[in-house]
């Protein structure tokens, strides 16, 4: 059923290049054609590719996804977060992050911000 579903994404590019004048429209249609020719020609290079080699290459890439740095868990007082949001014009997530990087101490955090 997937192929019966609408494909709003396809139209997205066209909307970006919102056609204003006839010239723009021409350019937009040329752009769209580029897309289709590129995707149709993508079959050609595919033939030049060794499928086995591709699978192997993919496998080699496989193990690299994981491994984000470990983050220390610091407790943060919501009142301090609110203080930073108010005083430093920060978003809440950023304020939390910033506090955490200063061991949850609002005063050191703000002092660091002033001198940064």
């Amino acid at each position: 059923m997937a192929d019966q579903q609408p494909t709003p994404a396809d139209t997205e590019d066209e909307r970006n290049t919102a056609a204003k004048s006839a010239e723009d429209r021409k350019a937009a249609s040329a752009l769209a054609n580029l897309d289709s020719s590129a995707s149709s020609s993508s079959a050609a290079p595919a033939a030049a590719v060794d499928h086995e080699a591709v699978t192997k290459a993919m496998k080699n890439l496989g193990g690299l996804g994981s491994g984000s740095g470990t983050r220390r868990n610091v407790k943060v007082d919501p009142a301090d977060v609110a203080l930073l949001v108010d005083q430093l014009d920060m978003t809440r997530p950023r304020a939390t992050e910033f506090l955490k990087s200063h061991d949850g101490d609002a005063v050191t955090a703000m002092r660091a911000y002033v001198t940064a």
């Binding site: 890439l61 005083q87 005063v107 002033v114």
Partner: protein, 817 residues
């Protein structure tokens, strides 16, 4: 799960999608309604209808319907995708990304949703997320080269160079045969990989790779430049020198090649003779080359300089090159060269007497050079400049260049009105020259004549644009005009239009940032990856362009005035005049708006009825509901608006003194003491002797002394980090000491006077001292204008006295009037 439909409705649904794609919105809505009649709770149809409504500019309805679609069908990836697209169109990328992710969870196989998400992530610079998306896309279609390249770029942008290189190599390893030499995508990819290796600092490997894989690369210049650079980095000087010579043979006007060649030949900076010899060699080899003759002037000194400058100047003046002065004025930072150059020009002038018939060569060129010399900031003597330019004009009364310089001299005298007239005269000498046209328009704006300016530039804008030249200038993103127009309106006190124009500039920068969206997919498709990566890096600091800071600072100043006004009105009751004037202005503006609307309506009626209907959808979207900026000027939260312009400015140009000063003022007024302190400290770091630093330091201490109920932690921070003035000090005394110390400097005196105002010193003293400013030997009319502005702002009784005294001193300065 999307709800199933009958086959008839399915067909209709596909029609809705197609209508949307073909931008036949009316038809789309109609068809969607047809389905909804039968299945009123069909989520996907509602979602599609919402998308179409949004495209028609009915954003609020679209969001409401989109939400309704979601409640009807929580499990449909279409509904979530559309919801994401709606947010994306409203530039709420955070929410859009969430919606896309949810849609993807429901339908992990959808390539479109995955692609939309990836593009959004790179736009938001969420590189880890982008890597993840790109990996998924690669997994789905590993046989397409684009997908490999894209993953490599993702790693590269995230700073993981080795991984980026590995991905490219992995793909290359899968190729059965080397692609043809004419394969542009492959050629780019090879050079991209090479730059990745070099960026890791492994130049030997980069060189080997270059000589092996890029031997027949299509981008010859890039290969040659990279090779020369690697050889030099590896210390292979002889080969590097050869490589740079090869490059110079291609392009002898590229300054960097000369410098690198000098380095590669092991010539030290002090060995001026040897350096000059290299340039001479190429000057002889390429008789038409300018760089080889001009560049030695940068490092030569004494007699050597005089000799070289004389031959260069003679050559240029003989030819009558109009840009001679512009090519040389950077040398004026050196006092010796500043003295020598005009001397040489005068000698040349004397030698010319015999053959003086030419209108733009020889004598005339020398006169023009000297006129510009005496008009230049570092060597200004406007009377002399006048003399020379008049002589030049005598030789050729119809020269655009000479007349333009005359207008410039007038501008520097402060006589803006005459300057504008002179520039406009220069324009009439060559009506087809766009440069002089723009220049004339700019001078009209400096003269606060917005209408004339618009009419002037209008001669060169597209004639058939609906809405006239201004709309065309907006479409063409003509930043200089918008900025100057805004500043002119600001000087005239038309806050609405001033903000309108300045905000338009800020919006153009938003558009430039938004424009990236198209390139995330386009560049990959075309395989132009090196240019793409450059663009991404450039976009990251796009707002450090002086055009942005100039417009932003001007707008912030207006917002600061707006924020300060109500408070001042409350203090003293003498605002009845002001209020009356304001009312009058508002009335006038309203009339103007009505007139514009009427005109627009008439135009619409006049138009061909058939044609009008087709373009109507476009027009509805484009219509500006605040053409005069009244809403902008009536803002409830001027400081909040100011912060929106300020925040990017502080982020990308923290080294700008003006930005830090403006930041301090905004944050102090908002009561954000820590942020104000941050700006103040940054300003002290940049220039501790700036008069504004003194003013703001005292203002800050004064504000802290009067501030109540600050949170304890904030107080602690302020106590620790602000020690420039202790709380116990007498601020008036500090200010008096500063004033005495900088007795002869007008900017410092003005700062001290502003502090007096802040501290509430008695007005007669301040007034007296402001009048005394005019007696300072160093004062220039720009300072007087600043002082006058201050007096007007304070509604001082001495304003007129000051103005009259200043006019006596500078009768020609138009802005004093």
């Amino acid at each position: 799960m999307p709800q199933p439909l009958n086959s008839k409705e399915q067909a209709l649904f596909r029609l809705v999608v197609r209508s949307y794609e073909d931008k036949q919105y009316k038809k789309g809505v109609k068809t969607a309604d047809q389905i909804l009649k039968k299945f009123p709770k069909h989520g996907d149809t509602m979602a599609m209808k919402a998308l179409i409504l949004n495209a028609q500019g009915r954003t609020e309805e679209a969001f409401a319907l989109g939400k309704e679609a979601l409640t009807a069908d929580m499990k449909s990836h279409v509904c979530w995708h559309v919801y994401g697209l709606l947010y994306r169109a409203a530039k709420n990328f955070e929410e859009a990304s969430k919606a896309y992710k949810f849609a993807l969870k429901l339908e992990p196989e959808s390539a479109q949703i995955q692609r939309d998400l990836a593009v959004l992530q790179v736009q938001m610079r969420d590189y880890p997320g982008y890597i993840q998306s790109r990996r998924a896309m690669l997994q789905a279609r590993p046989q397409i080269r684009q997908n490999w390249t894209a993953l490599s770029i993702a790693y590269h942008l995230d700073g993981n160079l080795t991984e980026a290189e590995k991905v490219l190599s992995a793909y290359e390893g899968t190729l059965k045969q080397t692609p043809s030499r004419l394969d542009l995508e492959h050629s780019e990819s090879v050079m991209y990989k090479n730059s990745l290796i070099a960026e890791q600092g492994d130049y030997q490997r980069a060189l080997d790779h270059l000589e092996d894989a890029a031997k027949y690369n299509l981008d010859r210049l890039a290969v040659m430049e990279a090779r020369a650079e690697y050889l030099q980095k590896l210390g292979k000087n002889e080969e590097a020198a050869k490589a740079y010579r090869a490059l110079l043979d291609r392009n002898p006007d590229h300054q960097a090649y000369y410098e690198k060649l000098t380095q590669a030949l092991g010539i030290s900076d002090d060995d001026v003779k040897a350096r000059k010899a290299i340039y001479d060699e190429y000057a002889a080899k390429f008789p038409r080359c300018d760089a080889a003759r001009r560049l030695p002037l940068d490092f030569l000194s004494g007699d050597d300089f005089e000799e070289a400058a004389e031959s260069y100047l003679t050559l240029m003046l003989n030819k009558g090159v109009p840009s001679t002065f512009a090519n040389l004025k950077h040398l004026y930072s050196d006092d010796f060269k500043k003295e020598v150059l005009p001397e040489l020009a005068e000698n040349y002038l004397e030698s010319q007497g015999a053959d003086a018939s030419s209108k733009d060569k020889g004598e005339a060129a020398a006169l023009y050079f000297l006129a510009q010399h005496y008009n230049y900031r570092l060597s200004r003597d406007l009377d002399q400049a006048d003399e020379y330019v008049n002589k030049a004009i005598e030789k050729d009364p119809k020269s655009v260049d000479y007349n333009m310089t005359k207008a410039r001299i007038l501008k520097h005298r402060g006589d803006i009105k005459k300057a504008a007239e002179a520039m406009d005269y220069a324009r009439t000498l060559d009506l087809r020259d766009r440069y002089i046209n723009s220049k004339a328009a700019k001078y009209h704006l400096r003269n606060n004549d917005n209408d004339k300016a618009l009419k002037t530039v209008g001669l060169f804008t597209r004639a058939d644009t609906v809405g006239g030249p201004l709309v065309d200038l907006l479409d063409m993103q003509c930043v200089w005009f918008l900025t100057e127009d805004g500043e002119a309106y600001a000087r005239r006190g038309n806050i609405g239009l001033a903000l309108k124009r300045l905000q338009a500039v800020a919006n153009i920068f938003d558009v430039w940032q938004e424009d990236q969206f198209d390139f995330h997919t386009f560049s990959l498709r075309k395989g132009q990856i090196r240019a793409y990566v450059d663009m991404i890096r450039w976009e990251d600091h796009i707002r450090d362009h002086p055009f942005y800071s100039r417009a932003a600072l001007a707008a912030i100043e207006i917002y600061l005035d707006l924020a300060a006004k109500p408070a001042e009105n409350g203090v003293n009751g003498e605002d009845t005049d002001e209020a009356l004037a304001k009312k009058k202005a508002a009335k006038k503006a309203k009339k103007e708006q009505q007139r514009l609307e009427r005109e627009a309506a008439e135009k619409q009626a006049k138009q061909d009825p058939n044609k009008a209907s087709s373009s109507q959808t476009d027009e509805v979207k484009k219509k500006d509901d605040d053409p005069l900026g009244l809403k902008l000027a009536a803002t409830e939260d001027p400081l909040g608006d100011a912060v929106k312009l300020l925040a990017p400015l502080l982020q990308v140009c923290p080294k700008s003194l003006e930005a830090q000063h403006a930041g301090f003022e905004v944050y102090l007024l908002r009561g954000k003491y820590i942020l104000a302190l941050r700006c103040l400290r940054a300003a002290i770091e940049i220039d501790p002797s700036s008069p504004k630093v003194h003013e703001q330091t005292i203002a800050f201490r004064n504000a802290l002394n009067h501030a109540t109920d600050l949170p304890a932690k904030v107080l602690e921070v302020l106590k620790e980090e602000f020690k420039a003035i202790e709380p116990s000090e007498d601020l008036k005394k500090v200010n008096d000491a500063f004033q005495a110390k900088h007795k002869s400097s007008p900017p410092h005196q003005l700062a001290a006077l502003r502090v007096q105002h802040i501290l509430g010193e008695d007005k007669p003293r301040t007034n007296k001292e402001i009048l005394a400013l005019l007696e300072l030997p160093e004062i220039e009319f720009a300072h007087a204008l600043e002082a006058l502005e201050l007096l007007q702002k304070w509604r001082s009784s001495e304003t007129e006295t000051f103005r009259k005294a200043a006019i006596v001193k500078w009768p020609q300065v138009t802005r004093l009037e």
